[in-house]
Amino acid sequence: MTTTFANLTAFVLLLTITAYSVAGGVDYGAGIWDMLAGRSPTAERARQLIDHAMAPVWEANNVWLVLAIVICWAGFPMLFQSVFASLYPLFSVALLALILRGAFFAFRHVQSGPRAQRWMGVVFGISSLLAPFFFAAALGAIASGQVAVGAPHVSVWQACFNPASISFGLVSLAATAFIGASFLVGDARRFGQADMVDYFRRRAVISTAVLIVIGTVALAVIGLENRPLLNAMLTGLGTPFAAAAVILTPVVGFLLWRRVFRWYRTLSVVVVGSLVFAWGFGQSPYLLPGQLTITQSAAPLGTEVLLSIVTLAVVVLILPSLALLVYLDQRGELESPQA
């Protein structure tokens, strides 16, 4: 009984992390492209588009992050304690990046003057790089098996910075840029800006190639340094998801290269989701590989049942509301004449 509910909670936790990776990825990705745009009239148009596409967000993506945190500490208290006891440096940096990013996004709207704007854009861009890198590095550190139950058993720095965590961080950066560009293509199409469609299409194709290269290198590094982790990811429950990511990434690149503007956004969501699922299913039934399983870390039955009820409420209450919000947003955009 407890096992069933604990597995359900673990799956919901994985879904929440995936949702943040996708929603946050689109957002951080836009921030990365904002920083990489450079200084030219085209870059200014790209920045305007990015700003326009991100405005409806008002930090609501943090919802997924908060949900993941609360599910983790209520459903798997010992996992939560262990992860934060070993990996607090990673989370501290990710958190600071997250708030700097929020602050400077808003600041750009308040402050005028091109120099101030540029300076704030740089902070905004750098924090858009740091946050996904460090969040993903935390997942990599967990996967590496360096997080001990309760208190750290290796030095905190070793737990935080090892080949697995850095590889995860780099792959997440590439994936973030990839999904960000792919969605900006969609936004540019929505606003009817043909030159911007092409601008972000080229960037999406390039980032597909970068993602493939970094992904391959990361796998090789993990294989050399941490054989059990590579095996766990390539054999077992994670395999279909790893395979999906490997196959679908080039497909997105190909679609955008050939200007086929169908399915590319859905597929890039599937790619990012598959990467997260490959990690999550790859290490199941362990939450901390080799040390702590889902059942061992599960909270007592009552808490797990309550979490299932909360999940049900999210599905019943929030999904329809979210659909309504997205509908209102997208519908309005379609109706607007081009500025």
Binding site: W58, E59, A74, Q81, F84, A299, I318, S321, G332
Partner: protein, 529 residues
């Protein structure tokens, strides 16, 4: 090695406490605006729709923009708080997460609902029919209440833990969901806090327009925007006095050391004086301060013979230090003093309203009203300091010490994080204030030439401005069909209201009833002896 880790752990305790206090104190500022402000906005919108008052609609729409700005800041500071439980207090969550975390899980749900419905509310101004927009907005106050009750369920568990079975090493082995969510302190903490933030939101909004009145802007728009929030808040102040009194009494049984600290009572005794102000010394003397003989005993049990608990009734290692007791006492006095001032202001308002049949005209009144917002905030912060500092040295009362929950990270790490946070939070304050002042200035200019534009323009959150410009008044959106709109709105509003009604009934039955019973029981006991 062991000694070394011990030193490191100790050095992280102080910065961790400061950081938690700082970030919570900051986040609390946003709570009234996030939880209670939507209710005032909806009230205003309702007046606009049902009394066909264009000024009320304009006020409501502008307030909703303020809501969006503060929500963005609150979303960030709230996210930081949730991470801090891991970064600063990992062992608290490791041991009690299964019980404490449940409230937060529900809060996650509520936060999600709020985020979405604030979005719908902002986008809906131009895209939905007025009544549908209003109905959908009705989901916001219940979502806020749900969030409040769940966060307070966590805090109540820390004050009066219950509903859990502990194993031999203190770990949680089984959880009674309702027992752990609805602990004894929840009922009074919930009502006390909820009413407090409704008062605060009402007074802070009204105080803006009180300042406008003092500066000579006294038209229908300004008077409406002042009177509605002020009246609601003023009506609530006497209620808060009663609920606050019940809460304090309940502490005599629930947390005697906290109560003793609030009243700086050193030894348990009858005929205990009520000390206003003053500082407790190491020897148990109270210096300075105004002492009213036997009044504390009378307040607890309506008789000077009632025995009031003293700090020394609890071992020195399990009660607040002298410094903490003094902070608790002064914060408590500040809260009670400010609350009483609020009641006096409310009386002034209603006397004028009843006998003169109009809003007050005195500059003194508006001067006082313009301070009521800040005063309410100070009272909320003081009340929160009372409950948190008064619980020391416990993080979970009588079960886990703050020092046992703190991170094993080196103190230097926490100190540096704290300093960065202070700088960034200051930046947040500057951004938010600049943005709001700029908006206010523009709205004023638009009113002066009587051509109000879209209030959202220039705000980083909400529908992009150029699109709004295209929404000429005559261009009604042919979005979702009217019937579907009404059905969606009705279903969502009903669900939300259902949650709140269920909560209110549950809390009323469990909570205030129990507090009142305890109070009556004590009264009868003390009179029979």
């Amino acid at each position: 090695m062991h000694l070394l880790t011990l030193v490191a752990a100790e050095s992280a305790l102080l910065p961790s406490r400061i950081q938690m206090a700082f970030t919570l104190a900051y986040h609390v500022i946003l709570v009234p605006l996030g939880v209670a402000f939507p209710a005032y906005t909806l009230l205003m919108e309702g007046i606009g729709i049902f009394k066909k008052d264009a000024a009320a609609i304009r006020i409501a729409r502008r307030w909703s923009v303020v809501m969006a700005v503060q929500f963005a800041v609150g979303a960030v500071t709230g996210t930081i708080l949730s991470f801090e439980f891991g970064i600063l207090w990992p062992k608290l969550m490791g041991r009690f997460g299964a019980a404490l975390g449940m409230g937060f899980a529900i809060e996650g749900l509520a936060f999600f609902l709020e985020a979405i419905f604030i979005g719908i509310y902002l986008y809906g101004w131009t895209r939905l029919r007025p009544r549908t927009h209003f109905l959908l907005g009705l989901a916001l106050p219940p979502a806020g209440v749900l969030g409040t009750v769940s966060v307070l369920a966590t805090n109540a568990f820390m004050n009066t833990p219950g509903g859990v079975t502990l194993g031999s090493s203190g770990e949680v082995t089984s959880v009674d969901v309702l027992g752990a969510l609805f602990t004894r302190a929840l009922a009074y903490e919930f009502w006390h806090f909820l009413i407090a933030i409704y008062i605060t939101a009402g007074f802070i909004v009204a105080s803006i327009y009180a300042v406008a009145w003092l500066r000579g802007r006294r038209d229908h728009y300004q008077r409406l925007a002042f009177a509605i929030p002020f009246t609601v808040a003023a009506l609530l102040t006497p209620v808060e006095l009663v609920v606050g009194d019940l809460s304090a009494r309940a502490l005599v049984a629930d947390q005697p050391a906290k109560f003793a600290a609030m009243e700086v009572t050193w030894k348990t005794r009858s005929h205990n004086p009520e000390v206003i102000g003053g500082l407790l010394t190491d020897s148990g003397q109270v210096n300075f301060g105004l002492s009213i003989p036997s009044f504390d005993s009378i307040l607890i049990g309506l008789s000077p013979d009632t025995v009031a608990p003293g700090l020394t009734s609890v071992p020195a290692t399990a009660r607040p230090t002298i410094a903490e007791a003094n902070i608790t006492h002064l914060a408590f006095d500040a809260m009670v003093g400010l609350g009483s001032a609020g009641v006096a202001l409310a009386l002034w308002y209603f006397v004028v309203l009843m006998y003169r049949r109009r809003l007050p005209q005195s500059r003194w009144f508006y001067g006082a009203a313009s301070l009521a917002g800040i005063g309410s905030y100070a009272a909320v912060e003081a009340g929160w300091a009372t409950t948190e500092v008064g619980r020391q040295p416990w993080i979970v009362y009588n079960l886990m010490r703050v020092s046992d929950a703190v991170t094993s990270a080196p103190g230097a790490v926490v100190w540096s994080m704290l300093s960065v946070l202070i700088v960034v939070y200051a930046a947040f304050a500057v951004i938010a204030v600049t943005l709001l002042l700029r908006l206010a200035g523009r709205w004023r200019r638009e009113d002066a030439i009587d051509t109000p534009g879209a209030p959202e323009a220039g705000v980083p959150y909400g529908p992009p401005s150029e699109r709004l410009a295209a929404d000429a008044p005559g261009r009604v959106k042919q979005g979702i069909s009217g019937t579907v709109q009404v059905i969606i709105a009705a279903v969502l509003a009903l669900l939300g209201l259902g949650i709140v009604i269920a909560l209110v009934i549950a809390l009323s039955l469990v909570g205030l009833g129990a507090a009142a019973r305890r109070f009556i029981g004590r009264f009868t006991r003390s009179s029979s002896t």
